[in-house]
Amino acid sequence: MNVAEKQSELKKWYQLNFQTFEQSLNGSKASPLHSVRVKAFEAFVKNGFPTPRTSEDWKYTNLQPIVKNDFELAAFLKSHQVSIEDVNKLALAKLAGDRLVFLDGVFAPILSEITNQKGLSVRSFSDLEKSSDKQHKDLLSEHLTKYVNLEEYGVAALNTGFVNDGALIEIEEGAEIEKPIQLLFISTVHSRPTVSYPRVLLVSRKDSKATVIENYKGFGQNTYFTCAVTEAFLDESADIKHYKILEEGSEATHYGHMAVVQSAKSKFSTSSFSYSGKLIRNEVTPILNGEEIECHLYGLSVLSEEQHVDNFTVIDHKKPNCHSNELYKGIYKDKSRGVFSGTIIVRPDAQKTDAIQSNQAILLSEDAEVDARPQLKIWADDVKCTHGATVGQIDQDALFYLRARGISEVQAKHMLMQAFAIDIFQEIEDDFLRESLENRFLELL
């Protein structure tokens, strides 16, 4: 089968899936949401899965593992029992605050905790649909798919075609949400390859402030595909800290797209921690649509075996006087492969842009690979844009220095790795979150 044939086979499979899905919707087929789905799915069908041949943006990441599997919609299969103890183990339990748990993309109310923090509404789409909360229903239909570019990002369109459940977070004007909002997406064990489509919509009003954590966990060695989309809208002077923790199963493919639209004077920061999963693609595409915006993207990957992670970012500076800062680091062992693809766009209007991008990788094995594609597209003259990329191994001199002071080689290496990653961890304000992530990082080394 050649690529084109495969693609069309694949479309057929997803079309079949889509039909089954549609049938399951019964009455809600007539809802406005469903027309959004249909349109999005058409956009996906039109282009199919991107390949290195058809898209420069997928030059180094091939979705072959997805293409060859006939994934079934996990939500239709009976999911394994997941106990509250399991959840406590998987979640960052000590983090107080709201916690929404999704099993295979479906909201699990019994496992969730909603604390009713002032100024915050956290709802699952499924819950909302059953309720008479018109205000939030309107909010959902008004904002969903408003920020993600479905023409450009075909896999995000696939998610949108199947969007059913998800998390809606609204932070009211002026509200400062003290405790983090944790979204735990668990993929349960199935005997067949499954797919789930988690979805998050975050609307932060003027002068609001909150921390949101997306935590993706897989259990076992089953094959599955998490196809997730998060949309975030930051109104003027909103301040959002976002974290994404990826500890998917060893045979899992994770595609995550985060579309962010920022208004004037808002501050957005996201940090992703790619710790496990067979193939991970993280897309973050902030649009800086106002003046004096701050945008920070951080990422840390620690990969081993045949893991593959692709961090893909596009920061679009549309207005003057904004600052963006990007720092992605990776440590690659065994036969793992790290890809970084970061674009900074500075539109003609965006004078006085200050954009910094940096990508650093350490290769720890003969068979590990790294590809980097740091790009600048600049149409304004009074800007400061820099990007830097370095690839190398552990500094041998430093290693020797430590060993000469009596530190064992293994320990010395760990120390140097820790030093390498330190600036990513430093960005985490919450002590517990930082320590948990850092401990996990050390375990992986």
Partner: protein, 481 residues
Amino acid sequence: MSTDNETIENFTKQEYKWGFYSDIDSDTVPPGLNEDVIRFISAKKEEPEWLLEWRLKAFRKWQEMEEPSWAFVKYPAVDYQDISYYSAPKKKPELQSLDQVDPELLKTYEKLGIPLVEQKRLAGVAVDAVFDSVSVITTYKEQLEEHGIIFCSFSEAVKNHPELVRKYLGSVVPYTDNFFATLNSAVFTDGSFVYIPPGVRCPLELSTYFRINAQNTGQFERTLIIADKGSYVSYMEGCTAPMRDENQLHAAVVELIAHEDAEIKYSTIQNWYPGDKEGKGGIYNFVTKRGICDGANSKISWTQVETGSAVTWKYPSCILKGENSVGEFYSVAITNNMQQADTGTKMIHIGRNTKSTIVSKGISAGRGQNTYRGQVKVMKSAENARNFSQCDSMLMGDKCGAHTFPYIEIRNPSAKVEHEATTSKIGEDQIFYCNQRGLSTEDAVSMLVHGFCKEIFKELPMEFAVEARQLLAISLEDSVG
């Protein structure tokens, strides 16, 4: 006096002797490209059968290929059937004196500081001016022959050194390489050939400039340079003044081969017609340049100053195969008015301890679009490979664009690869500071741009450096209000 006359006479004769031009002076194939045209070209050039076959293979391949569209440039489609692929060398109208030359052109020459004699030669003014060059050429020829250096037109090389041509042609840029290179392989008409024997350090900077019959081979030029073991050559390519060539499409191929301990330094000043301020006319410069450091400790160094052409698509590259081999790429690209450039390099590290350095300076002014596109690839076998890349852009005005697209692909953990890119502009405070010291704004800009490009200019041979500097000033005229 009589010797002078003889030299002139020899020169005129030589021109006929060297080229195949005399007997085909009236021949021009009608526009269009098919196998017959290729056979015609090959026959006219009295080429051996293998070369014709090679051309035909390339042509058949080319027919299956699609024009690449990934570059960050836009231009109207080229009608490849509307180009005449063979015509006798264009006879420029013989002018009697400089008074008959386009004053615009003369002004440019003056700014470049080209001596009067040279001005005449470039403008195509007859006889007397050429005289000096002729004797110069003859002297150089003799000197080179003494060292066993072969420096001739490609056609001559095919006739006189077929074994060398056959061995190396297409060995670095295969006829299947890319759309433009494949087209060139099918239809190339002439170019330069250089062979430096083992252990020889070429005593001169070789240049197309000195090779009289290199004129008018621009459109599908083919250059092949071989530096045998332990040899050294510095080659300069370029028109030294803006020749107003009306050819729309230039698709040249350059292949460099550096054997063990050999070094090739290739410098280019590209100053083809950029089109007018509205973007009318101008050359499409789609060039494939690649060198292989085949032997251990070999070195290839590309230096380019790209100021001309409407569209430039060009990535002089190095395949670093030999152990400890070194590849370098130094580039200044300027786009003003409606010019677009997508240029950069590829450094493919194969051998152990291979090193590469990339320094690219892009300057965008007017509505120019300047793109750096480069690849650094470290293969598994390339233990201890090192690369350092630096891509700096300078923007002048708010209607131009500067884009940087590096690709870094690392397959060996011992590699050390660093890439840096920055963007800057000429600050108003900098201009004011210069003004306050009595310098005009124009001089201030030229000084600052030159400062920005300094690292590259110091890589150029002396003869080129002065000229590059002048060219820069001319290219950026009217770019700052």
